[in-house]
Symmetry: C2
Subunit: 430 residues, 2 copies
């Protein structure tokens, strides 16, 4: 059997595990592919660096360009991350007729269209299961298993770092800073946690999920994004008192109107919802489809071995296709649905107000809501004197109306401060 | 575009929904397949019967044989269920070069080998995502996404009826009979509930799951099976007191030794385990893989629309393959692992004994366990006089040793009765 030759770009945490799996699973892979998978080369920045697994030093190269265009390479596995030079290398590989497997969410969320076009033109595969929710098989089920159904909403916990931080805040009462420090000490958060805690990582994944779920082009720039840095122990406690838990959610929704909404922000969800039980750094994606009903996919969202497992699944599929002389389905964006602006999104919201402790305050606050057509579902008055608070939860309202309400509340003389505003989600599906 | 012609066998709860989806999703399906899917005929027993959806009466036929071999049929969807005549019709379709989509777990678990052989010989697809856990995409992820990993264990709640019954017993304290009657009233259980409550349905699904997870031939006859009819409110209460919940599990395991174990029985699992939160008639399958870690797939396990959604996913894939002139991967049973007898299975167990209320009883009972090399982890003495009970949980032990222990306990003069024996599972993964 002639081996399929694999070029590996990057040999860090995930790449090392891919090398290990290719070696340890070699016999199984032959049985599943119909041919062995053999490393043609491993492009790295520093060939002298120590790695988690042994790589034949003769395979290491610093010339990634040359490797992706080497004549004997069949499949390129891109694990460099970021958009440059990863994007350039992936495009060169595709143009040269190599299938590509990548875990690069940022690249897919930004340049997915160009990459898909290149793959289609060359008749090769572009696979990226590992780019969203690590080991959880998600893109293949969304694209293939639900191909005869209509997905109406996707709710995802797709960032392990923020889920760990929020889970610790919920279970121990820790502040955001303390929970983040703990996550950093455990290796769940990077020393610069911006990409995670500000929601950039989740936004890229949300774009990819929305595109596959709705068969429409969505890029990271289309995604409304809010992070979790402003969440206080008081928010966590208020959520708990109301039977909710706070999660950073990627929400992709397709309503009755023409178009889709894609957003990433912290949200309160009922503790009875399956997503509420997703603890620590685990990921989970809850999919609502018209016929299939509610589905949830749960697992490790990151880490070398889990991500490598997803890469290997793609690698086996791409190799099998290549042997058979076919490629998988092309990018599916036939629905071409527009992305709604965030202001048109309809949600319920929780609002915590620090107010003056005197009579008539509630009436004044309620007037502001009424003036903006935002209906209040529940109000709780808490504390006295300087601690006087109003905790409100609204009925469904457009985000723009809610925003205008909050701005008006900030100007209201009886309101000392708008302490917190957070959306309430997933109540219908709980 | 020349349409792909679909023959539908059976037009009951699921078939009606397939007809509806083919109509409602027609435009999307064209975009995804590259050609329309058109019904060539619908084989039914009684063409005059009222159905949930409108079917062109001109398509109805009672001659299923003729339909599956009609020259213009590309794909046969088998939704008759049972092994005969379904098996005969599926084989005829495959021999005649038609791809087949089926939701028939009994057929797959019994005659899967012959069907796969026929599909492979004819170069066509045999798809059965709907046969296990309804709408939950499970077979495709197991077969394809984890293709470069090694699955070590699958724990599944794959029967909605029994999960509903056990959930009601747990949440309301109801007896088995009352919970079953409630499930029957709600349509979750059939008037003859044997196939569900005795574990036959789950055993067929366990065989299919094990085969896909371990790439080895497993049939329903290989599956050790126990039902839930003997579970009492006392068992439920004891489980709760120890932090467990009782679920009917399909367990497929691949240990360090050569071979696999496949079994269906009620088991106590920790309340903190993700499977413990699977309520009502929902299904979920928890997959443990060496590299991917723990994954869980959750959703509706039955029902017309969810099952039809899974059928449509398969139909789109089979149609796309047929247009491209290819077929999916052949049956993967290369690993050829033997199935262990149940006696060699190693588990922990819960044992409830009704005992005489006198001193020395505990010592006598412990002697019996020691004589069979079964180590006790915890003992609780409860009640006095005629209600005196011992509740024991063992460490890991071989099932054969546990069985011998139980038989010896039944003969022991200080033991009035062995009230209950149940395995304790999934503690390591909680």
């Amino acid at each position: 059997m002639k081996p399929m030759k694999v070029a590996l770009l990057g040999c860090g945490v995930v790449g090392s595990q891919v090398v290990r799996l290719l070696r340890e699973q070699a016999a199984d892979i032959v049985a599943r592919v119909g041919a062995p998978l053999e490393l043609a080369g491993v492009a790295v920045r520093d060939p002298g660096r120590r790695r988690d697994t042994s790589v034949d030093p003769g395979l290491l190269t610093t010339d990634a360009e040359a490797l992706v265009t080497a004549p004997d390479v069949d499949i390129v596995v891109e694990l460099i991350g970021g958009t440059d030079p990863a994007g350039r290398l992936v495009l060169r590989a595709l143009h040269g007729g190599r299938s590509v497997v990548t875990a690069n969410k940022a690249l897919l969320a930004r340049e997915g269209a160009a990459l898909h076009r290149a793959a289609h033109a060359a008749g090769v595969d572009l696979c990226y299961e590992a780019s969203v929710a690590g080991a959880i098989p998600l893109l293949r089920p969304l694209r293939e298993s639900l191909a005869g159904d209509r997905v109406t909403r996707v709710l995802g916990i797709v960032n392990g770092t923020t889920n760990y931080v929020l889970d610790r805040m919920d279970s121990t009462g820790a502040s955001f800073d303390d929970a983040l420090a703990e996550a950093q000490a455990l290796g769940y958060a990077e020393s610069d946690p911006t990409a995670d805690v500000e929601g950039h990582d989740a936004a890229a994944k949300a774009a990819i999920l929305a595109q596959l779920a709705f068969h429409s082009r969505v890029t990271a720039a289309d995604v409304h994004r809010e992070g979790i840095t402003g969440i206080t122990p008081a928010d966590i406690a208020n959520a708990r008192a109301m039977g909710y838990v706070i999660k950073l959610l990627a929400i992709c929704s397709r309503g009755d109107r023409h178009g889709v909404g894609v957003r990433v922000h912290p949200a309160m969800i009922p503790r009875s919802h399956p997503l509420a039980g997703v603890r620590e750094a685990y990921n989970a994606v809850f999919v609502e489809a018209r016929s299939a009903g509610n589905l949830m996919f749960y697992g490790a969202g990151a880490g070398g071995a889990p991500t490598a497992s997803a890469v290997l699944g793609d690698l086996v599929a791409a190799a099998r296709n290549r042997l058979a002389g076919v490629s998988g389905p092309p990018e599916s964006v036939y629905a071409a649905l527009p992305v709604h602006p965030m202001g048109e999104t309809v949600t319920r919201s929780y609002i915590a107000l620090e107010v003056l402790d005197k009579s008539g305050v509630l009436a004044r606050v309620c007037e502001v809501f009424a003036a903006h057509d935002v209906s209040i579902q529940t109000v709780r008055q808490e504390g006295r004197g300087d601690d006087a608070q109003l905790i409100l939860v609204t009925h469904q309202a457009e985000d723009a109306a809610l925003g205008a309400t909050v701005r008006a509340l900030e100007r209201l003389d009886v309101v000392r401060a708008v302490a917190s505003v957070m959306r309430v989600e997933a109540e219908d599906a709980a």
